[in-house]
């Protein structure tokens, strides 16, 4: 490995402690045309202090997975068909709504793509931070206020005392997103779930937010689940990557494995389809042809078969399941079967 990556690997090794464990999660929506199988058997583990990136095309089930973890997804139309979610050893799916409220905004923090819809427009920013602290951390008004100012400072909002008294519309997009982060982090969550936290922001503001997230992880050992479309962001801040495709985990591995030695043709395709600042531009980009399958009738066999350049006879008939490629990397592709090694090379 070229770089030190000291920080990134701090959470791995023998003392890795699982914080979130998702097993064989299936989530469907009942719609007029039938059943949308949004999440089809997702497994994942997020250890303490680990930043895990989730990438994949629009509609592949990233947000549904995240919202199911927090039990924020309305049911009906959604339902968890199968599987388990354990947070700090406790079964999330068995909790009452009241217990969930206790968890959300407390030990589990969240940041959504659009900060305007998730902040309350009728309440000052200060009140939104302090209420959470009073509820989840039993702080006095005074303590909560002090902590709120501290958090706004931490995420880079100057004149925090004044800012506490203002309403969300008085902040710019980037600052609102930082307020969301401040609220999410005020209670020292053990797990931060961030769904496209910077997609609506400009790159210079995005850079600020990414710095804040990196700093938090190294200072407070917060675990972060980061959903993004941007492979650059993943490379920048994540330890582990989960590549999703059509409601399933297509591949998972350390950030180094995924970027330097991807084992699934979809991951390979994603990496080839993006231009890079240091690229030779006479080379045409390599797009992935076609579009993802319709989740009302997901294909039998490999979900990527219709777009894959290596499709074999077996691919369209039998789902490959996840093949273990290393102790940290696995891929849902027949090419990783021992008998197929030569094809791959």
């Amino acid at each position: 490995m070229k770089s030190d990556n000291k920080l990134r690997n701090s959470s791995k090794g023998q003392n890795a402690q699982p914080l979130l464990e998702v097993e064989d999660l299936h989530v469907s929506f009942d719609v007029r045309g039938g059943e949308v199988q949004a999440v089809r058997g997702v497994n994942m583990v997020i250890n303490k202090g680990e930043v895990v990136g989730i990438v994949g095309e629009s509609g592949c089930g990233k947000s549904v997975t995240a919202q199911t973890l927090m039990r924020l997804i309305p049911s009906p139309p959604s339902r968890v068909k199968k599987g388990s979610i354990r947070f700090a050893g406790e079964d999330v799916l068995k909790k009452s709504e009241k217990e969930m409220q206790q968890l959300r905004g407390g030990r589990m923090g969240m940041i959504f793509q659009d900060p305007m819809t998730s902040l309350n427009p009728t309440m000052t920013v200060g009140r939104q931070i302090t209420e959470n602290l009073i509820r989840h951390r039993n702080m006095s008004m005074k303590e909560a206020h002090k902590r709120g100012v501290e958090m706004l400072n931490l995420v880079g909002i100057p004149l925090a005392e004044t800012r506490m008294k203002q309403y969300p519309h008085e902040f710019s997009g980037g600052m609102r997103q930082r307020v969301m982060i401040a609220i999410a982090l005020a209670c020292d969550p053990e797990l931060l779930i961030a769904d496209e936290p910077t997609t609506a922001l400009d790159v210079t503001i995005q850079a600020q937010i990414l710095e804040v997230m990196k700093e938090l992880r190294s200072r407070l050992n917060t675990s972060i689940m980061l959903i993004t479309h941007d492979l650059g962001i993943v490379a920048d801040v994540c330890d582990k990557v989960i590549v999703m495709y059509a409601g399933q985990v297509a591949e998972t591995g350390t950030v180094h494995e995924i970027f330097t030695n991807p084992k699934h043709p979809y991951t390979q395709g994603l990496l080839e389809s993006i231009p890079r600042l240091d690229d030779d531009k006479s080379q045409p980009l390599v797009p992935i042809p076609g579009t993802p399958p319709d989740l009302i009738k997901p294909p039998t066999g490999c979900a990527f078969a219709a777009r894959c350049k290596y499709t074999m006879d077996i691919c369209t008939r039998v789902d490959p399941g996840l093949f273990e490629c290393s102790s940290t990397q696995s891929a849902r592709c027949w090419l990783n079967h021992e008998m197929a090694k030569e094809v791959h090379a």
């Binding site: 400072n153 880079g156 400009d202 790159v203 970027f259 993006i274 690229d279």
Partner: protein, 336 residues
């Protein structure tokens, strides 16, 4: 690809566009901007949202009337043309929009969406000819002639963007403003559309203004790149030069903010993070528009607006201290 010998297709001189925003206040969306675009080239345009990119694009096509300045298309000032002369020139200048969902009429079939463009300029003599032309255009953008009878919602984002491109190409334009044509698409689909735009340019000699906020994509597709900040053009150069030797502090910060898809990248760790948010275009800072966030700002920057100067052949920048090294920062940043 264009060569620098190619003649100028579009010349923009001191273009400004103000919007009235109530209480007698005005917003300078575009503030005294000058540049040119050569025939057959792609000029990329980047900058943070709200900096005026779309307004430049729209004013170039006279979808907005300018507040000042001129735009010459093949030597003619388009703002001085009569309505009928303008209609003729409209055929030569088309636009592709950011949102492939919102920019197509959901009640029309693809046949009518593309056919409408042909009708406006009487480009099809009869129904049969119209249908044949639509089929030809669909094939050109990699869709199937059978798609003509379907409605926009039956297509994916990438396919819808292809329909938008087919509509723009229907009238055989010379120049297309591509306003964030791929921003709404997934990465695996973006490459399809960008390759298509490049191929069409090669085949048909098209000239593009390519607006985007994805700097890697802009570099990939553009011959030259213009950087905007708060209604001003702050830097313009050949794309290789701009990315390798940016002169303006804003351009440098912008480039260093792009996360690189390589976990072992060293550049990532030496990022220049600029503080604060984009100031309001209603009440812009005095002097240099970037001075409230610029790590190099000095006294003079608040007093004098730096002019856009050609520092090296073809490389323009508007900064009193263009090219001076920037301090590196560490740790959590604070907003100004």
């Amino acid at each position: 690809m264009s060569s620098s010998q190619n003649k100028t297709l579009i010349e923009v001189n001191n273009l400004s566009k103000l919007f009235r925003v109530g209480k007698g206040r005005t917003l300078k969306a575009v503030n005294d901007v000058s540049f040119f675009i050569r025939e057959g080239e792609t000029l990329g345009m980047v900058g943070e949202s709200g900096c005026g990119k779309s307004t430049v694009g729209r004013t170039l096509l006279r979808l907005y009337e300018p507040s000042g300045g001129e735009v010459k298309f093949e030597g003619k000032d388009i703002y001085k043309l009569s309505a009928s002369e303008m209609k003729a020139i409209r055929r030569d200048m088309q636009m592709i929009f950011q949102d492939p969902y919102a920019s197509l009429n959901p009640r029309l079939t693809v046949n009518d969406i593309i056919g409408e463009a042909l009708d406006i300029h009487n480009l099809a003599k009869n129904r049969a000819e119209r249908k044949a032309r639509v089929a030809e255009l669909l094939q050109l953008v990699g869709l199937n002639a059978e798609h003509a009878n379907r409605y926009p919602h039956e297509f994916s984002g990438g396919q819808r963007q292809r329909i938008g491109i087919a509509r723009a190409l229907a009238v055989n334009p010379k120049f297309i403003v591509c306003d964030e044509p791929i921003s709404a698409l997934d990465v695996s689909i973006q490459a399809q559309v960008v390759n298509l735009l490049k191929e069409l340019q090669r085949k048909m000699g098209l000239t593009y203004l390519f607006i985007a906020h994805d700097l890697s994509m802009v570099k990939y597709i553009s011959d030259r790149v213009a950087v905007m900040y708060l209604g001003k053009l702050v830097e313009l150069a050949e794309s290789e030069t701009l990315y390798e030797e940016p002169l303006h502090p804003y351009t440098r910060a912008l480039l260093s903010a792009v996360p690189i898809p390589d976990p072992d990248s060293e550049t990532q760790k030496r990022r220049i993070v600029i503080k604060g948010d984009l100031p309001s275009a209603i009440d812009p800072p005095s002097g240099c528009p970037f001075r409230t966030r610029c790590p190099l700002a000095k006294e003079v920057c608040a007093q004098e607006m730096p002019p856009l100067i050609e520092h090296r052949p073809g490389h323009y920048a508007a900064c009193h201290f263009a090219g001076e090294p920037l301090p590196k920062q560490e740790g959590i940043v604070s907003a100004g």
